[in-house]
Subunit: 641 residues, 2 copies
């Protein structure tokens, strides 16, 4: 039998199958992108498809209302094929591919974050210098009396201009040498790398093309973000982001490692990130900046340990299995050509060093950007991602750990959750009396709600608790027009009726969502708690808190403390530093000294493995309340109604 | 309409075409290998095909007898398609692909040539040492307390064993590291390159696989030869040869450069040598030696300047066009991975340096092997190939030049010519009275003649002239049973009747063949003459003559002098040194000092461009007789009947 996937905005895809085949698995085999952050266990409700023809066998799901079921909506993860059928795959399902976003670089907030980090690094003595050079050289045309071959002719010209002893012309440049020298009448721009007394040519261009670009990439488990920068001036040329295409192989690192371990899995997972995710963003950034891919002369990737392994195509199984030893922490001599990235094939790809199985280059890069490694104050650095990572320390020592928070901060595992893109509810207040919400929505004036992003969920839960609508366990305890219950008695708070939303579906938050989020925030807080105990300190020792991550710049620190996610310290100690992994990667692309410093930070940071640490599980269980079972830890968190 | 090529021993190939299409061109488009050394101008008669069905429009040709025409035989180069047809392509036409030969390395002659060259180089102070090392390392398994990642673990083990400071693990090794260490229980053989204080890993193997191989390659315009050698002991592991697959793009370098200049030509010509020619030979040698392709850690290619350009995929047009400046003489940092050769992708590919447009790495490598660069005696070095190259000099100076001899020495441009493989007549004497020949044939006892190779042609022409059967112009002047004439009066000497040959076709030599050969030998002699004059010397100054080339070890020096190909000096001064390009490449693969020496030889050798040299054309015209218009130059050459 066969299944036809009708992909919204795309061509239909047909696949042969057998009775009993799982529809989500089939979609994967057919290379049809369906968002499945929970990896197909039925919990996230994201893999919705709509039957157009034929029938499938499916289980009921709390994520599909009776009306929706009637209309043909199913969760693809719990459908078995029983005959020929055609299913419609909505665009929202392939959101991570199509919703690529090239951000507005004129946003003062964006620019300020990069400029601040750069200034701070410079203040710490890090020079913003790198080894890339572009020289325009003119040569004499060969004659019967001047019979020097092309490569020696170019070598002489470069040596004379740069005063270097040795010029290397690698294969990718040599093969184009004869034609390009003649085409441009023996006057070309040479872009390359100056190391000691050796200049390595990386690219020959017309004499007018002298731009040298760098590319900083943050590969998150859920979201990928990238900036293109001018290697000379440090100016941002373009910025973009999209979901990580690997999401269809699972929402968390463990599921992805399992998928990688299957036959051909290494290539599939690597393709999902390089071909399907990074390549289109890079192409779009190059277009937007008006440069050629070959002008990208250096890249830096900041990613967690698993993402790094999947990115380079190295077996990540050892990360998951005791004794949890990754194949590498740092990696030298990697090039864009090795990975077939659309950049100059000779461009070095710097991997921000991992320090353990679950604290990776995203954290060493983030720590570099946060800058407290050069300060006396005791700082707490929290990166809120699918993996929550925590660093605590100052110039004298640094200790780090990681916890699995799940994708809730990025909108995963939440029925109406979404990333902080157009239509996301990013902030919310609730009137304690009327229980009516006031929403702040990402996008242009008049944008209707689509779903809720991480910062929005924090606000909503905090406000629901403050107003006494939910209790410390996250269960609904007040009734009203906005609070509804389904047939099984599960409560939800409706933020936006179906009739007023962008998609025609109600935007709400239910008890399962709240429970998922409480576990995520509990993981974060208990990790902080355990890390502080491990160094014999308490929250009173904290001088500064840096909060990073793609949760959105709208994050409300007061609410984050109220729900017991972040420690209850003076709010003035908090700074939101945005995507610090990306900022760190940007610094490393621009500055050789920053790269060296990041290596040093990685080598000197101590890693605390929480999964084998006694006490962590107890801390976690205790943190799975609003704000905490020990309310003395959160004196400022109170119910007002 | 369409043409079906029925390939002997292969699957049929079908191609759509238009009326008037040339059959040889169609075969090229369809990737059907038809031997066409003259590039399709009708002169060589090698591109024979047989009509099976349908009709074609064709010109009469002296290469096809009436009986053969009746039977359907045509020259594909002069056939126009006029309707659907099916043609049979005989195996002999794809000889260069299928007649791959893995030589018997136990042949004392083969081994002696390599051993002699090696001994001579050692005597000249060249150490046979290289930078490749294989170490077997054992590591402790990681534990919860010993959390070093794989790459650092391997680095430590190698550092400890080799006492090096830095260990590089490139991408191709890193991607397999995690799996291979675990599979072999943390004990592996590491093959790599030791340079200064840095060891670069090139391959990880099971601890029992410690072989490191090198590959020396001679890329001739017509023939490709290769040896696989053990990088430690220098022992020959396997040897093989085949025709150069580029031959279907023309017999000489000029036609190939023209083909390369067409759309997609660079890739076509590069594929013809790398994918179609070198890859199958390398695979066969590896099989025969029982090693994996990844164990080939270094390669050296000796080839003429054009072959070098086509091999690396660099535009060779400048070689052909005034001022005849190649894109490169030497080339550093080239790897097997750059060229997608079936070897370790990190393996350096040494290119023996070119010194001019028409004197290439085959000659610098050959000069290295001949060894006279370290001697006082004045030596003449002659490489008999499609391009004839000459070097004259000693330890104090060396002068070189090249002439275009055509493919005659390798059996091309000769109606019954063939390479020195099974069935080739490689030597011949003729009874002056009866005019009956006595033949020596390559192959096992009882092998019937197929054709004539270079050394055979020299003998035959020399004997025909000695017996007064042909005159100084190469025309038949005696009649007899063995001498036949065709309808146009063209004479030929029958070496083997159709009924006695291997193929059922007569083996003979005709006046056009003899004329072609006389022009080839004339090119060689006049080049020698011109070169000597250029340094104000005569043949009397020659102390030694080294004759090299694939013409066959059966070459008869006395006969070569008799016909006026080689200078009339004491026969004891002559040494046949076989394929000296290959021997030189072998030395360079084995010895870093040999590579450096070859670079030095290239840099110090003077190049004389014959095509613009006054006097060369006159010398050439004078040399196009047997033995020469000036018979005083050849006192030992006489007609006896």
């Amino acid at each position: 039998m066969k299944v036809i996937f009708q992909i919204e905005g795309g061509s239909p895809v047909e696949i042969e199958c057998n009775a009993g085949d799982n529809l989500l698995e089939l979609a994967r085999r057919a290379n049809v992108a369906i968002d499945a952050p929970c990896s197909g266990n039925g919990s996230c409700g994201k893999c919705r498809v709509k039957l157009v023809e034929g029938e499938v066998e499916s289980l009921p799901s709390r994520h599909i209302t009776d009306e929706e079921y009637e209309a043909g909506w199913r969760l693809s993860c719990n459908c078995k094929v029983i005959g020929d059928c055609t299913v419609f795959v909505p665009d929202i399902a392939s959101a991570y591919q199509s919703r690529m976003k090239t951000a507005d670089l004129s946003s003062p907030k964006e620019v300020a974050i990069f400029e601040n980090a750069q200034q701070q690094l410079k203040n710490s003595g890090i020079a913003f210098e790198n080894k890339f050079r572009c020289v325009v050289v003119s040569m004499d045309e060969p004659t019967l009396d001047d019979t020097m071959p092309d490569n020696e002719r170019l070598t002489w010209a470069i040596s004379a201009q740069l005063g270097v002893e040795k010029v290397r012309i690698p294969y990718t440049v040599m093969v184009r040498l004869a034609s390009i020298l003649r085409k441009h009448h023996w006057c070309v721009a040479v872009k390359g790398k100056l190391e000691g007394d050796t200049f390595t040519c990386m690219e020959l261009c017309p004499p007018t093309d002298t731009v040298m670009a760098g590319c900083a990439i943050d590969i998150g488990t859920t979201t990928v973000t990238m900036v293109l920068t001018d290697l000379e001036s440090g100016k941002l040329l373009a910025k973009g982001s999209s979901g990580n295409g690997q999401i269809r192989y699972g929402a968390d690192v463990i599921n992805r490692i399992i998928q990688q371990g299957k036959d051909g899995g290494t290539k599939k997972l690597q393709d999902a990130i390089i071909k399907e995710t990074l390549t289109p963003i890079m192409a779009s950034l190059c277009r937007s900046a008006g440069i050629s891919a070959r002008s990208i002369l250096q890249l830096c990737v900041a990613a967690n340990t698993t993402m790094n392994h999947l990115f380079v195509g190295v077996d990540a199984e050892p990360v998951r299995m005791e004794p949890y030893i990754p194949s590498f922490f740092g990696w030298e001599d990697l090039t864009a050509g090795d990975l077939k990235l659309p950049a100059n094939p000779l461009a070095p790809v710097i991997i921000a060093p991992n320090i353990g199985s679950y604290v990776g280059g995203d954290i060493t890069a983030g720590t570099l950007a946060a800058g407290f490694w050069d300060q006396d104050e005791m700082s707490l650095f929290i990166d809120l991602g699918t993996n929550g990572e925590i660093v605590f320390g100052n110039r004298d020592f640094m200790m780090s750990c990681a916890c699995s928070a799940g994708p809730a901060f990025e909108g995963g595992d939440i029925s109406c959750g979404m990333r902080a893109t157009d239509g996301a509810i990013e902030a919310c207040t609730i009137d304690g009396t009327t229980m009516e919400p006031t929403l702040s929505i990402v996008g242009e004036e008049g944008q209707k709600p689509v779903g809720i992003c991480g910062s929005g969920i924090i606000d909503i839960i905090s406000e629901l608790y403050r107003c006494g609508i939910i209790n410390a366990k996250g269960l609904f305890v007040r009734d009203g027009q906005r609070v509804k219950r389904d047939a099984h008695g599960m409560g939800r708070y409706v933020l936006c009726e179906a009739s007023c939303s962008e998609t025609g579906r109600e935007v709400s938050i239910n008890e399962v969502d709240i429970d998922n989020f409480i576990r995520a925030k509990g993981a974060i807080f208990s990790a902080i708690d355990t890390l502080l105990s491990a160094v014999d300190m308490t929250v009173d020792c904290i001088d500064k808190v840096y909060v990073a991550g793609g949760i959105g710049s709208g994050i409300n620190m007061a609410n984050s403390v109220s729900i017991g996610m972040l420690p209850d310290v003076d709010l003035e100690k908090y700074t939101y530093i945005g995507n610090s992994s990306l900022t760190g990667a940007y610094a490393m692309v621009m500055s050789d000294q920053a790269t060296a410093k990041c290596g040093e930070l990685g080598a000197n940071m101590t890693y605390l493995e929480l999964s084998t640490h006694p006490g962590y599980m107890d801390n976690f269980v205790a943190a799975c309340f609003i704000p905490h079972t020990d309310s003395k830890l959160f004196p400022h968190s109170k119910q007002e109604y």
